[in-house]
């Protein structure tokens, strides 16, 4: 296993299209719920322990070699609004293109063929991590980090937030991120005994509601 592969996968410049998405931050800014570094931190903590935890479980499970199509179904059952299912699949398709070029593997080809419109992004990420020789816990870390870095980067653009302050928010959430990644990886280990029900299913009602609302905006800076 190469530690550098994890840096490549988690790098914001990895060409997987994530920069076009705010992770719900654009809607939260418009609603006046996200206004500064302090509210960015509470927003990110909430997203990490809900959507981030679910994504960490899925990614760790895919990295552990569990059936990606079953995991894709499990992701659908945990994503109750179509706006977020479409976003997850669009991001999954873009990540798939980058991953197949970066770490070619038959398992990636097979998932791309089975889900031509894209599998859920955390599932693709987990499989990409596996192809890169990374562990389930690595995959969980990478995907959980993305659930924070997306809103933090978007908040800099949307609020003209000081990038130093936004990065400090990420640093303050580092321990939370470690815990969430560990919980996701632990849950993935229980799949063999319990099936995909073992995976976290934490929901964030406001993220669901505002994602669907945001998708209906005629003009927006971010795709989600």
């Amino acid at each position: 296993m190469s530690r550098a592969a994890l840096l490549i996968l988690a790098d914001g410049r990895f060409p997987a299209g994530g920069h076009a998405h705010s992770g719900g931050a654009e809607a939260a800014v418009a609603a006046g719920r996200l206004t500064d570094a302090a509210t960015l931190e509470t927003f990110c903590r909430g997203r990490l322990h809900t959507a981030g935890l679910v994504a960490a479980g899925l990614a760790a499970a895919a990295a552990a070699g569990h059936d990606p199509l079953l995991l894709d179904d499990a992701a659908d059952a945990r994503t109750p609004v179509p706006a977020l299912r479409q976003t997850a699949r669009r991001l999954g398709r873009q990540l798939m293109r980058a991953a197949r070029a970066t770490w070619p593997a038959p398992a990636l080809d097979a998932l791309a063929a089975a889900r031509p419109r894209g599998a859920h992004q955390p599932v693709v990420l987990g499989l990409a991590a596996r192809s890169a020789g990374l562990t389930p816990l690595d995959a969980a870390h990478a995907v959980a980090y993305e659930t924070l870095s997306g809103p933090a980067t978007a908040a800099v653009r949307l609020l003209s937030l000081d990038p130093f302050d936004a990065t400090a928010v990420l640093a303050r959430l580092a321990d939370d991120l470690d815990r969430v990644a560990r919980r996701g990886a632990d849950a993935a280990e229980r799949i063999t005994a319990e099936g995909t029900d073992a995976l976290p299913a934490a929901s964030a009602p406001l993220l669901d509601i505002t994602a669907q609302q945001h998708a209906a905006w005629p003009v927006r800076l971010f795709a989600s």
Binding site: F43, D73, V81, A83, A201, A204, I209
Partner: protein, 280 residues
């Protein structure tokens, strides 16, 4: 003069359970008769659950769950099991809100609802809200098994704290399977011990949240249209009225999700969603 006996220890309910808490499971079975009337060959209340048949006999059979004592308290293990056989219809309500209260031992309470709905059968499970009182700790699960042609309307409302008080700890998981495939899997975790729940990404200061799930074979042909509810429908969401969304799941089902400042405004949003889902 004899000494008066000491006053009896105060018990809110009888028979007094051991400190391990109360164990009780109410069971009901709905069966279609040849005349189109749904009968209830099993209607067994238990512990805090008294089951009352309400309304005239017909399709559906109507049952109201009446709380015979204050429950769940910490340490209790309560369950409700309902089976609706092929072709039958059951309409299930509760007489009042369920209040999760602290127990004597600090043990969590468990409350498990299991329902099974057969081919061509219908279940409406429309309980009053679950209120998480300060200091309580409740783990709730709702497990639904649906046949491919089953019809389900299920409402779930949670209120975090009684008026003006902090919330207790409330963890709830709902898993809905249809024809063996998982249609919905959602977990909520609020209050002490949960992290990030009181966040602008999760509740945004709201204290009442709920879902209305409608599963209907006809959604296979035509999915319900997305509809924004309450403040979510406005240009700038108004926090005071609550907000929600009604949207199709990845399967023949529609789910409304809503958050609101209180139970009354939450119910308004879910009723609005219910009318939309029924109108298709």
């Amino acid at each position: 003069m004899t000494l008066a006996p000491p006053p009896p220890a105060h018990h809110e309910r009888a028979p007094a359970p051991s400190t391990a808490g109360l164990r009780a499971t109410a069971r009901m079975l709905a069966r279609a008769g040849g005349d189109g009337v749904t009968r209830l060959p099993v209607l067994d209340g238990d512990g805090p659950f008294a089951l009352r048949r309400v309304g005239a006999h017909g399709r559906p059979a109507r049952v109201c769950v009446v709380s015979a004592m204050s429950a769940p308290l910490g340490g209790d293990r309560l369950g409700i099991e309902a089976t609706v056989e092929a072709g039958a219809a059951l309409h299930l309500t509760t007489a009042a809100a369920t209040v999760a209260l602290p127990g004597r031992t600090g043990e969590p309470a468990h409350y498990d609802v299991r329902v099974t709905v057969g081919e061509g059968a219908r279940l409406d499970w429309l309980p009053e809200p679950l209120i998480s009182a300060a200091g309580s700790d409740l783990r709730m699960t709702t497990t639904v098994e649906l046949a491919a042609t089953a019809h389900l309307v299920l409402r779930e409302e949670q209120v975090l704290g009684r008026s003006g008080e902090e919330t207790g700890a409330l963890r709830s998981r709902i898993v809905v399977r249809r024809a063996g495939r998982t249609l919905l899997d959602q977990e909520t975790a609020y209050g002490p011990g949960a992290t990030g729940w009181d966040s602008t990404a999760v509740l945004g200061g709201h204290r009442a949240l709920g879902q209305l799930l409608v599963v209907a074979p006809e959604f296979e042909e035509r999915a319900v249209e997305v509809r924004l509810l309450g403040g979510a429908a406005g240009e700038r969401p108004a926090a005071h009225e609550g907000q929600g969304v009604l949207a199709p799941l990845a399967g023949p089902a529609a789910l409304a999700t809503a958050v609101a400042p209180d139970a009354l405004r939450l119910r308004r949003l879910l009723d609005e969603a219910g009318r939309s889902a029924a109108a298709g």
